[in-house]
Structures are given as structure tokens and as C-alpha cells.
Amino acid sequence: MSPALLASGVLLAPLAAAAVIAFGLRRAPGAATAVALLAAVLVAVGSLVLALGPARDFTASVELLRLGTFGLSLGLKFDDLAALLLAIVGIVGLCVHVFSVGYMREDPDRARYFGGLAIFMFSMLGIVFADSLLMLFIFWELVGFSSWLLINHHFQRTPAAEASKKAFIVNRVGDFGFLLGLVWCQAQFGTTQLDALAKAVDGGAVVAAGLPLLLFCGAVGKSAQLPLHVWLPDAMEGPTPVSALIHAATMVAAGIYLLCRIHFLMVPAALEVILWTGTITALYAALCAVTQRDIKKVLAYSTLSQLGYMVAAFGLGSLKVAHGDHHHLIAAGVGAAMFHLTTHAFFKALLFLGAGSVIHACHHEQDIFKMGGLARRLPVTFTTFTIGVLSLIGMPGLAGFFSKDAILYLAWAKHPGVFAVLALTAVLTAFYMVRLWRITFLGAARGEGAEHAHEGGPALTGPLILLAVLSVIGGYGWFYSGLLGGRFDGVIDSVVHPAGADHTLILLTSVAVLVAGALGAWLLYPAAGEDAVARRAPRLFGLLGGLQASFDRAYGAYVAKVQQRLAMLLNFLEQIFLAGLIVRGLAGVVGLLGLGARALHVGNANAYAYWFLLGLLALWAFAAGLLSF
């Protein structure tokens, strides 16, 4: 099987599954599950075969549209970057599918759920394989749609309906920029083919800062960067496996992937903006996470924060590295971002699935203060979750540590200010994760659900274990170069690891922030039924809460006070002024004229004779040459 064919198969298998489910298996949830699972397995296997195989940059494209000078073809671009993400999507996707089988067992609508997952897999794979910005955009929109579908799974619940709507619209706002940038690209270069663009830029084409920034808008929306981050916490209304797959591991990472795909278009000014966007998002989200009570919301803000890390990493850009006598300019930002993306995909998916396991066990209780004592009742979940937490907060030796180190080092090397902020974020990360971990798993059970919690079946635990393993080994160089045969070197090689004094510094910093955060949380938060900090420092707590809500409030105010009022005003003008005053008024004037003309028929023959006189007068005037035209 040729790689192109295989790739097409991988891409289309979930679409076929989705079609089969949508048109035939709507009322057969069991069969639908099987079909989706089969597709996920095929995708996973195919992805791994492709990613670990030798084939790269095979071309396969098909033209979809041609109008005048504008042509659009779908093609495959398969390099190490794509391979890496492909592997992640395949593995995490499979894990989530398997997990979902257990998690959604009770749900009567799970056919729709699996159909949605299949569409998502198709769309995400499309992003991975996209060889042009246009194709990227197409699948970009489609993942937005599948995300909408899946967040809206429990559609009778108003929050779910609202959240899905919000997610799509906010993403659309981001896509507004993406689409504009895309169109700009098409107009300037005559193509959006990534390779062609790269060639053009290499050839010295000048790129305005606006172009990459417009494209970055898309990433801001999808990767939930400030100020378009508001949808992601709300998106936790979706089923938990969805959160794991889409809103933690893959879809939100697509923004980072997009940035890496277009890194050659970047100019310093644009990178500066990107850098600060990521940095601020990282800090902001970490601060928000501290006050959350909902287990998924904590993880959501954590995801935001980590995405901020990645964006910041990308924004830090390339780095000049001494390599023997030679100085190389390597795309360190791309490497660091993608590296973190990879490890984050593993441990965040792990954390979310763990959370899902907890929620499932607690009968859909999500408030961490109503949990507690789950460590004993859910040993597997506890263990794996702990690994995930540790990986996230950067425990040396775990995957997260390596990737975070790479970013911190890069920040240190390029921008001390950013380094400081990211370090502070790391402290907060350790703080809120330990808070979460301790309140959820330790102490005594504080709720009905927590008391009767028990481990789910192997469908739930299996994926946890697999992901936990990956969360451990995913950071090691040998894992990539050895186990995976160096197939991702194109990406991994550009990860810059600190050496020498820098190494020590970064290591120390990491450990220090880890310890500071974890210790603070351990001390401040006993495993209790209420928020200790909220009690002790209500003002600080309120401040953080306000910070978190500020964006929603601002947007709410905009929608209610500006957008809706403008709409009402324009509608008023339309109905009263245009349709009423002008159109009806004109009709009224004509009607009045008509009434007037009609009223001239008074019925009196004398009066009619006056008309004749009028006519005679006019005719006389014509005949005498007084009137002429």
C-alpha cells in the first residue's frame, strides 16, 4: 500500500464511519460504537505505520475547485511535524475511543456521540495532512463543527447548548482573522500551498507583519489564547472524553501546529505579539485555575495555561546555537512548542481521562470539594492521575519536565522577562494541581458519589495506563530516537536543551518552582469540604475570581449592551424608518394622490365642462406656441 493511499485511507476511514453512523446506525448505539472504535483502531494503526514509516513528503493532490486564477486542491504534506501530530492524534484518539466505550455506556445517545467523534477524527487528521493553508482552514472549520457537536452532546441542558454556541462563535471570531490572512496570502502569493509559500519566502518575498498575525488569529481562537480563551472552560460541558481528546490533547493544539506550519512567514514584530499573547495567557489561566472547584475547569484552565506556554515558546522564535565551531540558527520555538505539545497531549489527556474516571465513579459529580478519599477507592486512577499531575508540574524525570525545561531555557536565553513570568506560572501550576490532587484523592470522602466510588472497567483504566506510560517516557530523547527510530527528528532535533550552567540554572529553577508551588498547596489546602483560601483570604480569592470572570463579563456586556442594542436599533430603523416611514410613506403619498385624483370626479357636468376649458386652455397654449417641449 502506497503511503499516499494509506494516508487517504487514514483520513477517510473516520469519515466513512461517521457517514455510516449518521445514515444507518442512529438507532443502533452498539453497532455505532463498534464502527467508531474500528475506525479509531484503523486510524491508530495506520497513523503509527505512517508516522514510523520512512515515507515523507509523498505528493498526492486532487483539485477541487478552479475559478479563474483561483484554484484549490487538497493534498498531503507529510513531514516529521505532521507525523508527530499524526501519531499523537492516533494514539490519544484511540485511547479516548476506548475510554468512551466505558464512559458512555449508559448514554442512549451514544451513537450520535461516536458519530461526532468520528467526524472529529476526520477533521483533525485533515489538519494534520493539510498541504495548504486553505485545506488547513477547511478542516479547521470542520473540527470547530465537530467540537460544537460534541460539546452540545447533552443538548437539553442549557449550559451545554450555550457553551457549544459560544465555542463555535468565538472560534469564528478567530477564524475571521485566519480567513483574511489566508485570502491575503492567496492574493499576494497566488497560492496557499505551504511548500510554495516557503519557497516564495526563501526567494525573498516580503511578508508584512499583518499577514502572520492574521493567521495567528486563527490559532488564538482554536488554541484559546487571550482574549479568545473564554470558550474553552465552558466547553467542559461536553462529555469528559471529549474534553480529553479535543479540548486538551489535539484540537486546541492545532493552533500551535498551524503556527509551526507557517513559521517561515514569521517576522520579528509578529513573533513579539505571539510571544506576549502566549505568556500572558499562561499566567492568566494559571491564576484562574487556582480558584476553580470543578475538576474539569481546573484542568481546562491548566490547558489554557499550557497552551500559553506553547504559544510563548513559539513566539520566542529561533535560536542561534553553537554546534562545535559552527553556529546554527534553529527553529527552537517550533521545537519547544511541539515538544511540549506532545508531552502535554499525553499527560493532559491522561488527566482528563482520569478526571473522567473520577466523575464516572462519583456519578457525575464534578465538584472537587464533594470528593475526597478517592485514592483508596480508585487505585489505578489515583496512580495514573498522580503521574499526570507530576508530569504536568514538571517533576524531573517525567515527560513534562523535559518539555517545560526546553521552554524555560529558551525564554531564559531570549527574554528574561518572559522567563520570569513563565516561572511564576510554573509555581502556580504546581500549586493548583497539587490542590486539586490533594482535595480530590486524599482525606475522607465528602460526598455521596465519592463514598460509593469504584474503579470502572478495563475500558476506562486501560487508556489511563497507556497514557501514564507515555507521560513518563514521552520526554526522553531515547524514546524518540531509539524507540521511535528517529522518525520525528525533524522536530525533536530543533528542541534545544540547556547545557552547562544554563542546565543547572534551569534545573534548579524548575525544582524550586515545583517545590514552592506544591508545598504551598499542601500547606494551604487540607483535604476539606470547603476552600481554605477562600475562607482565609476572601479578598484575594474574590480578586482572582473577578479576574477569571472579567472577560466573560466584558463580552457579556458587549453582547448585551453593544451588539444587541445595535441590532435592535438597526432593526428599529429598518422596520420603522425604512419599511415604515419611507416605503409605507411613499405608498401613502401615492395613495393620497390617487384619492385626490379620484375626488376630482365630482359628478357635476358643469364641473366637467371646466376640465374641457382647462384642456382648451392648454391646447391653445400649445397652438399659440406658449408651451412647447
Partner: protein, 507 residues
């Protein structure tokens, strides 16, 4: 290629009209219904035939299936010349598809005075097929009016709220637009000196002897205003939401879906190629008017609508703005995008009107505030509604996306500022689309819905309603996944300079 033993275009026009005449002459209801099934299917099949054989057909100046019928007025330059070029063919297909769907939907509607309803719908259908098959400019107009008039009676007899006012307003507005465009067409005819309404002859003639610049500007302006009324160009649009709000489903489907495209079609086929200087003079004002008026202002007005059908009506006005933008660019990309968008919008808005009526059957209301949670009792209906909404929003995978995309691409070269505003409209359409969707289908059922459900337990979309919806949705998806099905002919028609060769053989 195999050819039919008769002229497919004439047959597609004549069959529905003849069926209407037969029904009018007192066919019993049972037979009328059966005849109507056939009469709606025949144009679709013929349209599919022409689509399938389009590439392989011999063409004269881009026109395939060319035939000419004498009206006896050849000396005045009026003859019934039928043919399809790459721009007309997709719209011909659209007319067949939407007509079929609207017909099927009407047949299951159990409307009062069903025979009259079907008769009028068949007249519309025949006229619509004629609009896009006519190469003669006068017959283009003629068939448009033929299709337009049944609307008056349909809105008035079977319409909803405000039907009398709506029917009157709609008819007067559209007649005004039609008369102005007729004046423009006559002016072109008279001033060109070609002594012919034949579009091919006019093109050839005007390519050699273009009209002077000022005149072109005036004529284009006249046509723009006249056709603008028909296509609801801001601020000449107020008839549209009112009319569509009141129109019965099948009529709204055909009118908003197909008939409205006449104005754009005429601009593209007649005004732009014949009056290039006029187009150049008007491009910029048109673009700004369309983007500020249709896209932005009407976008916001749509946001404020609380009535499902009105909202669809306004959204249709808004989307026409994109088509105008494509035309304003004047490039093959933009105009082609506009044509694509016309087809896509026709399908999607017809689907939306169909579904809105089906929603109304189940909720007894169009008021969005009163609805909620319809997805639970009627999941298939909700699924169709989701698909139609997302098609309207311009999701890739549906046909609309390609049209909008091409328009945007063309527009950037025209003016990045206009493009930015136009793209912002996409966000607005997502907001109102999803808001309405959520209000109709999702969330818990409102008290009013529960009350209605207790009286008439809502059922899911019946098969009789499903089939027309599937027809439309399939077309939307097919074009979404394989846009080349119609984009290649459009491309060919726009890329090739219009040079007519030998006269076609007259029958």
C-alpha cells in the same frame, strides 16, 4: 454522447406549464396530484441530463444545447433561443432541484385548494426553468415574470401573518424592479444597434461596437437598481423578509431559492459582459453598498429577529450581499464565486424554508422565544436543521463555503477593507444561525412547547418531508465535497472570452 430525441430545455420548460394547463382545465384532484409528481420530476431529470452531458456537448460561444424557435418576430430580434452556458447550467440544475423539492413538499402539505396550489407552483417551475435556459434577453425577463406572478396569489391565499399586505408589497416592489430592468434591457437593445435581444448577438455586437462610457454607466446603474430590487439589494430589500415571512413554504423555497437569483444572473450574464465600462464605474459603490448595507446592517438586523421565518428571510438578504460583492469584483474568481454562491444559497435557503415550515407544524409558532428542545422529540428534523444552518453559515463540506471563499479571494484584490467587513459578516451569520438553532432545537422544552406537545405530540420528520429535504441536502453536500461538478463549467464560461461563432441551426 447520446442525445434525447427532443430538446431537453424546451421540454423542461414546457412540461410543467403544460401540466399546469391540464390541471387548470379541470383534471380531477387525484390525477392532478399524480401528474404533478411527474411534472416536478421531469425538469429535474432533464436538468440532470444536461448537467451530465454538458461537457461533452458541442458548444457555440460556450452555449450547449442551443436551439432557436421562431416567434414570428425575428425581424424585431425576438426569438425563443434556448441554450445553456457554464453559468446558466448550474442554475438550471438548481431550478430543477429546488423545484422538485418544493413540489414534493407541496404535494405532502395537504394544503387547502391543493390543485390551485400545484398549478401555480408548476407555472413557477416552468418559468424558472425558462429563465435560465433563455439566451434571449427578453425571454429571460418574460420567464421571470411568469414565475413571479403566482407568488402573489400563493402568498395571498396560503400565506401567513400579514399575507395581504405582504402579497401586495412584494408584487409592487418586484414589478417596479422588473420594469426598471426591462427598461434597461430595452435600452441596451435599442442603443446597441444589434436589433436583437439575442444575448449572443448582443455580446458579439457590443464587443465590436461598445456603447459610450457615460451611457454604459447610466444603463448599468438602471439595471443595478432594477435588478437590485429583485435581489433585495440594500436599501431596496424590505419586501423580502416580509414576503418570505408570509409566503407558504414551497413558494418561499422557489422564490428565495431560485427566482431571486434572476437578478444576479442577469447582472452576470447581461449587464457585466455587455456594459464593462458601466460595471467598472459602479463596482466600487456596489461593493460598499453591499458590504455595509446587505452584509453588515442587515446582518445586525437579522440578529434582532425573533421570528424564525423573518430571520431566514433577512439572512437571505444578507447572503445576497456576498453575491453582489462577487459581481462587483468583476473577475472570474469573484463572479464565479457569486454563481457558485447563488446555487449553494438557493439550495440551503430552500432547505431552511422547508424545515422552518416543518418546525412550525410541530410548534405551531415561528416565535423563537417560545420554542425549545425540539431535538428531543424530533431528532431527524433537528439534524437537518443543523445541517442547513451550518450550510448557511458557510461550513466547509457544504456548497456555500466555496462560493464565499472564492468571493473573498476575489474581493481582497479589489479592496482589503471591504473584504475585512465582508468576512466579519461570516461571524455575524454564525451568531444568529447558531442562536436560532439553539433556541429551536436545544435546551429544555419551554412551557409553551410542553403545552403544545400535550395537545399534538410532536412527531419526527415524516418521510414525505424527508425526501425533499434529502434531495436538497444531498445536493449541498455533493457540491460541498466535489465543487468541480459545477465549478468547471463556470470557470470555462468565465475564462473564455465570449466570442460567438456561427449562428446555431434553427429548428
Amino acid at each position: 454522447m447520446r442525445t434525447l430525441p427532443f430538446d431537453p430545455l424546451l421540454a423542461a420548460i414546457a412540461f410543467p406549464l403544460a401540466s399546469a394547463l391540464v390541471i387548470a382545465s379541470g383534471l380531477p384532484k387525484r390525477w392532478s396530484v399524480r401528474l404533478a409528481y411527474v411534472a416536478f420530476a421531469v425538469p429535474l431529470l432533464l436538468a440532470l441530463h444536461t448537467w451530465w452531458h454538458f461537457d461533452a456537448s458541442p458548444k457555440v460561444a460556450g452555449y450547449a444545447f442551443l436551439t432557436q424557435y421562431s416567434t414570428g418576430l425575428d425581424a424585431v430580434g425576438i426569438s425563443l433561443k434556448l441554450g445553456l452556458n457554464g453559468i446558466a447550467m448550474p442554475l438550471f440544475l438548481l431550478a430543477g432541484l429546488v423545484g422538485f423539492a418544493a413540489g414534493l413538499y407541496a404535494l405532502q402539505s395537504q394544503a387547502e385548494r391543493l390543485k390551485l396550489y400545484l398549478l401555480l407552483l408548476l407555472v413557477m417551475q416552468g418559468g424558472l426553468m425558462g429563465v435560465f435556459a433563455s439566451v434571449d434577453v427578453l425571454f429571460l425577463y418574460f420567464f421571470h415574470e411568469l414565475a413571479l406572478i403566482p407568488t402573489f396569489i400563493m402568498v395571498g391565499v396560503w400565506g401567513g401573518r400579514d399575507r395581504t399586505y405582504a402579497a401586495m408589497k412584494l408584487t409592487i416592489y418586484l414589478t417596479l424592479g422588473a420594469m426598471l430592468s426591462l427598461a434597461g434591457l430595452i435600452a441596451i437593445y435599442a442603443r446597441s444597434g444589434a436589433n436583437s435581444f439575442d444575448l449572443m448577438a448582443l455580446r458579439e455586437h457590443l464587443a465590436r461596437f461598445p456603447l459610450d462610457q457615460a451611457l454604459q454607466g447610466n444603463l448599468f446603474g438602471l439595471l443595478l437598481v432594477g435588478l437590485g430590487v429583485l435581489v433585495s439589494l440594500f436599501p431596496l430589500h424590505t419586501w423580502a423578509p416580509l414576503g418570505y415571512g408570509a409566503a407558504p413554504s414551497s413558494n418561499a423555497m422557489l422564490h428565495a431559492g431560485v427566482l431571486k437569483k434572476f437578478g444576479l444572473y442577469t447582472l452576470i450574464q447581461v449587464a457585466v459582459p455587455l456594459l464593462p465600462a458601466g460595471h467598472a464605474a459602479w463596482a466600487s459603490p456596489l461593493a460598499w453598498l453591499a458590504v455595509i448595507g446587505n452584509v453588515l446592517i442587515i446582518g445586525f438586523v437579522t440578529l434582532a429577529q425573533r421570528d424564525l421565518k423573518q430571520m431566514i428571510g433577512y439572512s437571505s438578504v444578507m447572503h445576497m450581499g456576498y453575491a453582489f460583492l462577487g459581481i462587483a469584483t468583476g473577475t472570474a474568481v469573484g463572479v464565479g464565486g457569486a454563481v457558485f454562491l447563488m446555487v449553494a444559497h438557493g439550495l440551503s435557503v430552500a432547505l431552511l424554508f422547508l424545515l422552518a415550515t416543518s418546525v412550525h407544524h410541530r410548534t405551531q409558532t415561528f416565535a423563537l422565544d417560545e420554542m425549545g428542545g425540539l431535538a428531543r422529540p424530533a431528532p431527524v428534523l433537528a439534524a437537518f436543521l443543523v445541517a442547513a444552518t451550518f450550510a448557511g453559515i458557510g461550513l466547509p463540506g457544504f456548497a456555500n463555503f466555496w462560493g464565499e471563499l472564492a468571493v473573498f479571494v476575489a474581493l481582497w484584490q479589489f479592496s482589503p477593507a471591504v473584504t475585512a467587513v465582508a468576512v466579519a459578516g461570516v461571524v455575524i451569520s454564525a451568531i444568529y444561525g447558531l442562536r436560532a438553532l439553539a433556541q429551536v432545537c436545544f435546551g429544555p422544552a419551554t412551557p409553551r412547547m410542553e403545552e403544545i406537545a400535550s395537545r399534538h405530540p410532536p412527531v419526527d420528520l415524516r418521510w414525505s418531508e424527508r425526501v425533499p429535504a434529502v434531495v436538497l441536502l444531498t445536493a449541498l453536500l455533493a457540491l460541498g465535497f466535489w465543487p468541480r461538478a459545477i465549478s468547471d463549467p463556470i470557470h470555462a464560461a468565465l475564462a473564455a472570452p465570449a466570442t460567438a461563432a456561427a449562428a446555431p441551426s434553427a429548428r
